[in-house]
Subunit: 183 residues, 2 copies
DNA sequence: TCTCAAACTGGCCGATCGGTCAGCCACTGA
DNA sequence: TCAGTGGCTGACCGATCGGCCAGTTTGAGA
C-alpha cells in the first residue's frame, strides 16, 4: 500500500459507513474490516474517530466558507442567484459528505416502526409531482417533501418567533409556488 | 405515581433526549435519570429501547397512513392541495416526533468540525430571504435551504435516473420559484 | 549490509451499552 | 389478616465501544 492510499481508503470506507449507519452507529472495527486493516491502523492515521469525521467534512466546509465570503458586497439580486447556484452546486458536489451528516436517517427509516413511512411519502410525492413525471416536477416535489419536515424539525430550536398559523400559511404558499403547475 | 403517568413521563423524556442526542446517542440510563427512576423500570414499562421509539412514532405514522389513504380517488388538483395542506399540518403537529427522526443532526452540528456550518447557512438564508424579513420569505428560504441538501442526500439512494445537469437545473428552477420575488 | 523511521499488528484497558433477574414494597380485595 | 399483584429496585451479565501500547514488519537511504 502506498503512503497515503490507506488514509484515503479509510476516509472512503468511513464515508460509506457513516452514511449507511450514522456516526454513532459505525464502529472503528467496522471501518477497519472494510479497509482490510486493524483498528489500531485507523488510529495510527487519525488521532481519533472524530478526527476521521473532521477530515471527511473539511473540504465541503471550506467551500461553504468560500461561498459565504463571496456573497459580501454583491447587490441583492446577484447575491440571491449566486447563493442559489452556489449552494445547489456545492450540495451536489459534496453529496457523499452530506449523506454522512444525515447518517442516522437511513438506519432509523429501516426500523420496523418506520418502514411504511418511506412508502407513503413516495405516494404523496407522486401526487405532488403530477402525472407528467418530468424531472423538474419530481425534483420540485421532493424538494418540498424534504424541506417541510426539516423546517418542522428546526422550529423549536430557532424559530420561536413565528406562530403556527404564520408557519402553516407560509409553508403552504412556498410549497405551492415551488411546484410547477399541473400539466 | 399513577399507573400510566410514569409511562408517559418515559415517552416524554425519551422524545426530548432522542431529539437532542439521537436514538443511538441516548442511553436508557440517560432517560431513567430524567424520569427519576431506575433503568430497569423503563424495561418494565417497555419491552426494549426500540419499543420506546416505536410507541413514540406510532401516532404520527398512523396519521400519515390516514393522509395516504385519503388521497386515493381525488382528482389531481384536489389531491395536490390535500397533500400539501395535510402534510404541512401533520409535520407541524408532530414536530416533536420529527425531531426524533432527525435526532442525530443537532449532535453532529455541535461538533467542532461542523460548528461554522450553521452560521454560514444562516447568512445564505438571509440572502435568499431578501431584506424584507417577512415570515413568508424567511420560511420559503429555509424550505429551500433544508430541501436541497436533503435531496442531495437522497440522490444516491433512489434517484439514479437523473443526470447531474438535470438535477442542478431542476433544483435551481424549483428553488427560484419557491422564493418570493425580491421586494 | 546496516539503520532507522514509517506503517501496521494483536492484545489489552476501562467505560458504557441494552437487557435480565431475584426480590422488595405498597396497596387491594377476599 | 393475609395472599396476591402491579410497580419498581439494585446488582449483575455479556457484548461492544474508543483508545492505548509494546512490539513487529517493511522498505528506502547511507
Amino acid at each position: 500500500m502506498g503512503r497515503s492510499s490507506t488514509r484515503d481508503e479509510i476516509l472512503g470506507a468511513a464515508a460509506r459507513q457513516f452514511a449507511a449507519a450514522g456516526y454513532k452507529g459505525t464502529s472503528l472495527h467496522d471501518i477497519a474490516v472494510e479497509v482490510g486493516c486493524s483498528k489500531a491502523a485507523l488510529l495510527y492515521h487519525f488521532d481519533s474517530k472524530e478526527a476521521i469525521l473532521t477530515s471527511l467534512c473539511a473540504p465541503a466546509i471550506a467551500e461553504l466558507e468560500g461561498l459565504h465570503a463571496r456573497l459580501d458586497g454583491l447587490d441583492d439580486a446577484t447575491a440571491r442567484t449566486t447563493a442559489i447556484e452556489g449552494f445547489v452546486g456545492l450540495c451536489l458536489r459534496y453529496r457523499k459528505e452530506i449523506q454522512v451528516i444525515y447518517g442516522d436517517l437511513p438506519g432509523l427509516l429501516q426500523r420496523p416502526a418506520l418502514q411504511r413511512v418511506h412508502l407513503m411519502t413516495q405516494k404523496i410525492c407522486e401526487v405532488l409531482a403530477g402525472t407528467s413525471g418530468s424531472p423538474t416536477s419530481v425534483i420540485a416535489a421532493k424538494l418540498v417533501l424534504a424541506g417541510i419536515p426539516a423546517i418542522a424539525f428546526a422550529i423549536d430550536l430557532e424559530m420561536h418567533d413565528y406562530s403556527d398559523e404564520e408557519l402553516r400559511a407560509a409553508l403552504i404558499e412556498a410549497a405551492t409556488r415551488a411546484l410547477a403547475p399541473l400539466t
